[in-house]
């Protein structure tokens, strides 16, 4: 066939430890925003760019991905799977796909939402230059990512520095969409692992020594979920792009326009679903419950009168009657870094139970399988499977 489009390799094997407890039972790319996994947005961007062959590199809880995407027919793409048995870095993940590839290809991360234009721009540059191609996008806080400096002509990469601590000259970061030909696999095998991980960026830094690395500049939507609270921001942003697809079943229920409500969700009388909210399939929201700017995963039950604000409630969890997750700004500490003014009412893991009238302070993270008994007031971090009694 003439003019065949390159295959797209999507890395979806990672665990996403920073998003615990939500990633205790699913890989990060399967976290839902507006009831669809992050990975589905990536697949759509690839498909809309006209690429129809996708190779998923999967590993951690890969069944979740295989279950959801199958052979890709529902997205009009062909999906093949390769398994990365141990998560040893992005370059190692890519290497697993090598046996399925004998042409130039596009590489994407399974947990970054980008527009199809970025994919087609990378594809075009790959075709004209032969690669390698790296895409960059401006960021407000470039230090959290791989900071990229361009050469004078702004068409090639000068340097890439992962999470730099020193002074930086650029606000451009690695957007995570690449174009490579097969020579990248040789480069990877010659790359030395850095603290046990083989990273694509290390390979790229080696390439820069004696090769031109071409650049695609991108200014469109680029959504990354680094921290738990990012999930709410991304969800609200994407829910806002939908025009109220679903009207309430009865006039006794109030549902804002920028919400996503899954199939077979039961919503009791006088419940109120505020903006920026997603409610997953087969979830139950009982009478008078109020849910604002929150993500409710499938099969979860929000009992009568509960107030859930700025919160993520994972799968198959029970939020008891009159539970209060009041929401509001808080300060979060992750790996020693302090994040201020974070709007996070709380996060509750899978299969947990919050008893009646439990109160959850802003920023609380409840582990999966935890059981919080009636009337308890909790804050901070509650371990998985913990049982918390009223003090």
């Amino acid at each position: 066939m003439a003019n065949q489009t390159p295959p797209a390799v999507i890395l979806a094997a990672g665990e996403g430890r920073r998003l615990e407890p939500l990633t205790n039972r699913r890989p990060k790319p399967m976290l839902p925003v507006t009831n669809r996994p992050l990975l589905e947005y990536v697949v759509e961007a690839v498909e809309n760019a006209g690429l129809d062959r996708i190779i998923f590199v999967v590993g951690y809880y890969e069944e979740r991905i295989r279950n959801h995407f199958g052979d890709g027919d529902s997205w009009d793409v062909d999906i093949e799977y390769v398994t990365q048995e141990k998560q040893l870095g992005t370059a190692h993940a890519l290497l697993q796909a090598a046996p399925l590839i004998n042409e130039p290809f596009v590489l994407l991360n399974g947990d970054r939402i980008v527009e199809s234009k970025l994919v087609s721009d990378v594809q075009e540059t790959l075709e004209t230059t032969g690669g390698p191609v790296v895409s960059v996008t401006p960021a407000e806080n470039p230090r959290h990512y791989g900071v990229v400096e361009l050469d004078g002509s702004a068409t090639r990469i000068q340097s890439i520095t992962e999470k730099p601590t020193g002074p930086i000259q650029s606000n451009l970061i690695n957007a995570g969409v690449y174009g490579f030909d097969q020579s990248i696999f040789d480069e990877i095998t010659q790359t030395t692992a850095d603290s046990g991980e083989l990273a694509i960026t290390t390979t790229l830094t080696n390439l820069l020594v004696d090769q031109d690395v071409h650049v695609v500049q991108y200014r469109g939507q680029w959504l990354d979920v680094s921290h738990l609270w990012d999930l709410l921001t991304v969800n609200a942003a994407l829910a806002g792009q939908r025009s109220g697809e679903r009207s309430p079943e009865s006039d006794k229920v109030s549902i804002a326009a920028d919400t996503a409500i899954g199939s077979d969700v039961k919503i009791g009388p006088h419940a109120s679903i505020g903006g920026g909210t997603a409610i997953g399939a087969n979830a139950t929201v009982e009478a008078n419950a109020v849910i604002i700017n929150s993500i409710i995963f499938p099969d979860t039950v929000i009992e009568a009168g509960a107030v859930v604000r700025d919160a993520v409630i994972s799968e198959n969890t029970r939020v008891g009657a009159n539970v209060t997750i009041a929401g509001g700004d808080t300060q979060m500490v992750v790996d020693g870094t302090v994040y201020k003014d974070i709007a996070l009412g709380g996060v509750v893991g899978d299969n947990a139970t919050l008893g009646g009238a439990v109160t959850i302070a802003p920023g609380t993270v409840v582990g999966d399988g935890a059981s919080i008994e009636d009337g308890a007031i909790i804050s901070g971090h509650i371990e998985s499977d913990a049982i918390v009694r009223r003090g």
Binding site: E63, R66, S74, I79, Y81, A281, N316
Partner: protein, 599 residues
């Protein structure tokens, strides 16, 4: 038990028919073959799986039929594989079912040479004789069918003309209407990736496929055939990157259970919405529910019978379909006979439901297959909506069968006025909790695999349970024996000491359902009896209990009456991993086929 495929269209038929056969392999896989139409017929067939068949490349052949076989008459040999031809090679036929009078027909054809031991081969010979008399293929088939007794779905082709004629009697046959051609299949899985627009043929219908048009004749007159749309996605019938359909289907259970429940529960009214039409007042007057089923469906029925007695306060009995007769002491009008069959084509179950009808009982079918034979045999059907199940070992359909039957029990309880809205609501909430509960078990797969690896080399496996846990023990043992070929048996826990304990050694693990409502302390005592003889004890335990004496314990989330159904998912995973460690052909265990359409 076989699968048949036909295609006539614009594209080369060889690869299309071959793919259709692969899709139907669950119906049988001991031999396969195709016939492609050109100036001469090209027939290629052999014993073995579809994968062993090499289909000749004839790009100009746009018409073809194919067959995948599960032997009933004659062993799986190259000669006995379909398609069958007569003496001239002008006609090729594929057939699913049994021609009961083939011996007398064969005697009447004593001047002709037969090359196989099949009942099918009489058909091409009879067709050839009709064609020699100057009839066209449609008329020939019409005349031949009148001589046949038994169950059959038949597709026939003729050298030199792009035409397929097909008919059915008590064996399934579906037409698929795609943009670039027309398909025939034993079920829609054969061609689901090409089209979802289908016509289910009725017994006695004859379909004639020619380039560009399709005609269906009933009693000699052409009829306007209805086209229905199948709701399944083609990729649901493909493996989606899993190494086995069985594991894929085990993991699909949260999604398929949501589908089973979808739109059927009204929590506000504490009611179940099912589209059933019975005479007014009938359900209140019923005195007995009879279940007829085979295999896994039989165990689902055992589970359901208890649910019906508890929830709908009605006497419920369960019969293995092949053993069923409408016995004395019951009023047919006050008896509702429910056929439970995944495929809707199970011959034993069809036979039983016909016996019930003859006796005058009202009938109902609980099945996964729209348009299946059983749903046409009865007035009312409830579909379990589990989606296509390809693995021979039933997994997600068991879960969806029990769930659907539980909905039916609540429906009946409310109709009969014996179940309060609030009691119904609490059962329905437990049902809505099933997808999440099952997911919780699936997330625990690594620990089940560990146990499977540790105990895979045991001499035998015994499964025990009480009340609703008892049918699950039977189902757990069936799953394990089906796919691992290990000796496995299920018992009512209390029965262990009345005999089976003699089989227990330190190399026979006992797997127990230890869920609320199943008298956990007594079952634990039974386990201790086995452990005293050195047997390892593995239990699926309600999360509200802790039992320290077990060798391996799996936690079952709260789900009221349905905890054993969730416990069963542990047993499915256990069976899968034991069989996988042993390298068994999990999706196609030896000697078994998916839907058994012979009695």
């Amino acid at each position: 038990m076989c699968g048949i495929v036909g295609y006539l269209g614009e594209d080369p038929a060889g690869p299309i028919v071959y793919k259709g056969l692969q899709n139907l392999e669950y119906r049988g896989y001991d031999s396969a073959g195709v016939a492609l139409v050109g100036e001469e017929l090209t027939v290629q067939k052999r014993s073995g799986e579809v994968g062993a068949l090499s289909v000749p490349e004839i790009p100009s052949a746009v018409c073809g039929i194919g067959h995948t076989r599960w032997s009933t008459h004659g062993p799986p040999t190259d000669e006995n594989a379909h398609p069958h031809t007569g003496m001239t090679g002008e006609v090729a036929v594929v057939h699913n079912g049994i021609i009961e009078n083939y011996e007398s027909l064969r005697e009447s054809l004593s001047d002709r040479t037969f090359t196989s031991q099949t009942d099918t081969e009489v058909i091409p010979h009879l067709l050839e004789i009709e064609l020699e008399d100057g009839h066209d293929l449609y008329t020939a088939l019409n005349r031949v069918v009148s001589q046949l007794e038994g169950s059959f779905a038949i597709c026939a082709v003729h050298a030199g003309r792009n035409e397929i004629v097909a008919t059915r009697n008590q064996s399934p046959l579906v037409l698929g209407h795609a943009k670039d051609g027309v398909f025939l299949g034993s079920d829609v899985t054969a061609f689901l990736e090409h089209t979802r627009d289908v016509t289910y043929l009725e017994d006695g219908d004859i379909a004639v496929l020619r380039p560009g048009d399709v005609h269906v004749y009933r009693d000699g007159t052409e009829i306007a055939y209805p086209i229905e749309t199948v709701e399944w996605e083609a990729d649901a019938a493909e493996k989606g990157g899993y190494e086995h359909f069985m594991r894929k289907e085990i993991h699909e259970q949260p999604a398929s259970l949501r589908q089973t429940l979808s739109g059927r529960i009204d929590l506000d009214r504490g009611a179940v919405e099912l589209d059933l039409e019975f005479p007014k007042g009938y359900l209140s007057s019923v005195e007995e529910i009879q279940f007829v089923a085979c295999g896994t469906s039989y165990y689902a029925s055992l589970y359901a019978a208890r649910l019906f007695e508890e929830i709908a306060d009605i006497r419920a009995t369960v019969s293995i379909a092949s053993e069923y007769t409408f016995d004395g002491g019951r009023d047919p009008w006050r008896t509702l006979t429910i056929a439970v069959t995944q495929s809707g084509e199970t011959a034993d179950t069809l036979g039983a439901i016909r016996r019930a009808k003859r006796a005058g009982a009202q009938t109902l079918a609980v099945t996964n297959m729209l348009g299946s034979s059983v749903s046409r045999e009865v007035k009312n059907s409830v579909f379990i909506r589990a989606g296509p199940e390809i693995g021979v070992a039933a997994t997600k359909t068991f879960a969806s069968q029990v769930t659907t039957l539980a909905l039916l029990a609540v429906y009946l309880g409310r109709e009969r006025g014996v179940l309060s809205p609030s009691d119904a609501r609490s059962i329905l909430e437990d049902l809505r909790g099933l997808p999440g509960g099952v997911q919780q078990v699936l997330d625990n797969e690594a620990s089940v695999k560990e146990a499977a690896v540790a105990y895979q080399d045991s001499d035998a496996f015994f499964f025990v349970g009480r009340r609703h846990g008892y049918p699950v023990a039977l189902e757990g043992a069936l799953k394990l024996k089906e796919i691992s070929y290990d000796h496995a048996e299920g018992f009512a826990a209390g029965e262990l000491k009345h005999g089976p304990l003699a089989l227990v050694t330190d190399n026979t693990p006992v797997l127990a359902v230890l869920t609320d409502g199943g008298n956990i302390p007594n079952t634990v005592n039974n386990l201790v009896e086995a452990q005293t003889r050195g047997a390892p004890a593995i239990g699926a335990i309600s999360e509200s209990h802790e039992i320290d004496s077990l060798d391996v314990g799996f936690e079952v989330p709260d789900a009221g009456l349905f905890e054993p159904l969730i416990a069963n998912v542990y047993f499915q995973l256990f069976a899968y991993h034991v069989a996988n460690e042993k390298g068994r052909p999990i999706d196609k265990p030896r000697n078994l086929a998916k839907s058994v359409t012979v009695g």
